[in-house]
């Protein structure tokens, strides 16, 4: 059962890769645009740290680590689970109908049903940024890999949880995209900026602290308590997000748009 599902997921990923490979020109153009986009944004932090050497104890290498983790997670989501990002739109258009009749898990079909070709270049870019930051800080490669997995799971879960609000809110897609992007931005801001009610927010309602702030404590301070907290929080966030999705799915009312998916 699990083996079949895994094989199905791998086949879907292969199909997504093939789809990307057929539009080679567009793929290369978008990849160049995307990497330019991230490079410009990273240059902003270089400029900021040129003017202000340290912000709340964070320096360029902290930003590089946080940004690298975030951009890898974003790239992975765009490539391997882009359907989760477009969930509100799929709900509005009644596109989940076809998945409900299929024997495979609905969430798997939703996630892998569509892809964005810029995903792999973003993952590579994230990897390069993480490598540079890793060399600068001398962190353990194994820990860095583990943190990348945790950040990816947390971010994907957050996108699933907030995207599932589309089951209750019509026309939520635009807002949802803005929320995802802003999660990514908040996660890459120095931790010391957040205190009081803001700190509560980034650990509870929008737990972006587990995307970069806590992983940075694990990596740079070798803080085992932070690692335990992160692993527990990652599991809990994933479970809660799935629960929200299932809850929304149980009240899902299909649209009346006629369409064939094949």
């Amino acid at each position: 059962m699990v083996g079949n599902t895994l094989r199905y997921a791998v086949d879907m990923l292969k199909a997504n890769m093939k789809a990307a490979a057929t539009l080679r020109g567009a793929y290369i153009t978008r990849s160049i645009f995307n990497i330019t986009n991230h490079s410009i944004y990273l240059s902003l932090w270089v400029l900021i740290f040129d003017a202000i050497p340290s912000i709340g104890g964070w320096r360029v290498e902290h930003i590089l680590l946080a940004y690298g983790l975030g951009i890898f997670a974003w790239g992975f989501l765009s490539f391997a689970a882009f359907g989760i990002r477009t969930l509100p739109r799929q709900i509005d258009d009644g596109e989940l109908d076809t998945y409900l009749t299929q024997p495979k898990p609905v969430l798997l079909n939703v996630a892998l049903g569509t892809t964005q070709t810029v995903g792999p270049p973003e993952m590579i870019f994230g990897g390069v940024v993480l490598t540079i930051a890793g060399v600068m800080t001398g962190v353990s490669i194994l820990m860095l890999l583990l943190m990348t997995v945790c950040t990816t799971v947390v971010f994907t879960s957050l996108v699933l949880a907030y995207g599932s609000l589309g089951f209750w809110l019509k026309g939520f897609h635009g807002n949802a995209e803005e929320i995802y992007f802003n999660f990514f931005i908040i996660a890459t801001r120095p931790e010391a900026v957040f205190h009081g009610w803001m700190l509560v927010m980034i650990f509870t309602f929008m737990p972006v602290a587990f995307m970069a702030h806590v992983p940075l404590h694990v990596l740079l301070d070798n803080n085992m308590n932070a690692l335990l907290l992160l692993l527990s929080a990652t599991t809990l966030i994933a479970l809660i997000s799935y629960k929200i999705f299932k809850l929304g799915l149980s009240r899902y009312e299909s649209g009346n748009r006629f369409g064939v998916r094949g």
Binding site: A26, N34, L47, A51, I55, G56, F194, H195, M198
Partner: protein, 266 residues
């Protein structure tokens, strides 16, 4: 002539009403914007508390500056996505045969929606900022009102760039990638996080040579008090110049792209 403007006005008015009727969406966006503005305020308060560098501006002024530039990003609707969707769905073919230029129709809609946003952000947002920061910028109400006036005009220039990014979808089938590059250039050279006067000289020179600094830094610097580097007249001139030039560039790009669409047959 008046009839011509009237139809655009009707599109803008309809977009204004449509935009402000989606209360839930608007509320979420406003809450997000407030959260981000407060994060910026805390960001600069932290820098002020640490005293690692001596800033040429009062912290309260920089907090207002960064919050207003953040608000600017939230004020405009995401028009590039509307155009991209029109292109991808093929709906643009129906819009192009209407007896009014498609690009001006979308501009009118965007201005209508943006005006709806402006009313909300300039009331709720400014009041919330006043309470959170704990007072007006040192330039007082006149500085704040000047900034708000020019940020509104700059938002129209921002819409022109969004239209241009959207129109490129006729060519590249994708407007978002170019928009993201434009957005990041706006964030960096426009001075979203900090006034561009704090950048190295060569970056400042580069920023002043681009329209993006006229869209965020030039209007928002009015809240930087006596240290604000640009006068009211200078900001009026550069805003008008870039607004006009961006409008012309939008029209030109649209003509080039639609000609290509007609030749290719869509």
């Amino acid at each position: 002539m008046l009839d011509g403007f009237r139809k655009y006005y009707i599109f803008a008015r309809t977009a204004f009403r449509d935009h402000t009727s989606h209360r839930m969406k608007l509320s979420i966006r406003v809450v997000l914007c407030l959260f981000f503005m407060f994060v910026f305020v805390e960001f600069w308060r932290l820098i002020g508390r640490e005293e690692i560098v001596t800033l040429p501006y009062a912290i309260i002024d920089i907090c207002w500056y960064a919050s207003l530039t953040q608000m600017f990003l939230f004020m405009s609707p995401r028009m590039f996505m509307t155009i991209e969707n029109d292109v991808r769905s093929g709906d643009i073919a129906y819009a192009l045969i209407r007896p009014m230029p498609y690009i001006w129709m979308r501009l009118s809609e965007a201005i209508g929606a943006m005006t709806g946003n402006t009313v909300i952000y300039y009331t709720v947002g400014i009041a919330a900022l006043y309470l959170y920061i704990g007072g007006l910028p040192t330039s007082g109400l006149s500085g704040l009102l000047s900034a708000m006036f020019f940020l509104y005009l700059a938002s129209i220039t921002h819409i022109f760039y969004q239209l241009m990014c959207g129109v490129t979808a006729l060519w590249l089938q994708d407007g978002e990638s170019i928009y993201r590059i434009y957005q990041k250039t706006l964030i960096v050279l426009g001075g979203l996080y900090m006034p561009i006067t704090l950048y190295p000289d060569w970056v400042q020179t580069l920023a002043y040579a681009t329209p993006v600094s006229s869209m965020m830094f030039a209007p928002a610097q009015f809240v930087l008090g006596a240290s604000s580097p640009l006068s009211f007249m200078t900001v009026t001139l550069i805003t008008t110049f870039w607004l006009g030039l961006s409008g012309l560039a939008t029209l030109l790009l649209f003509r080039i792209c639609t000609r290509r669409l007609e030749i290719n047959g869509g």
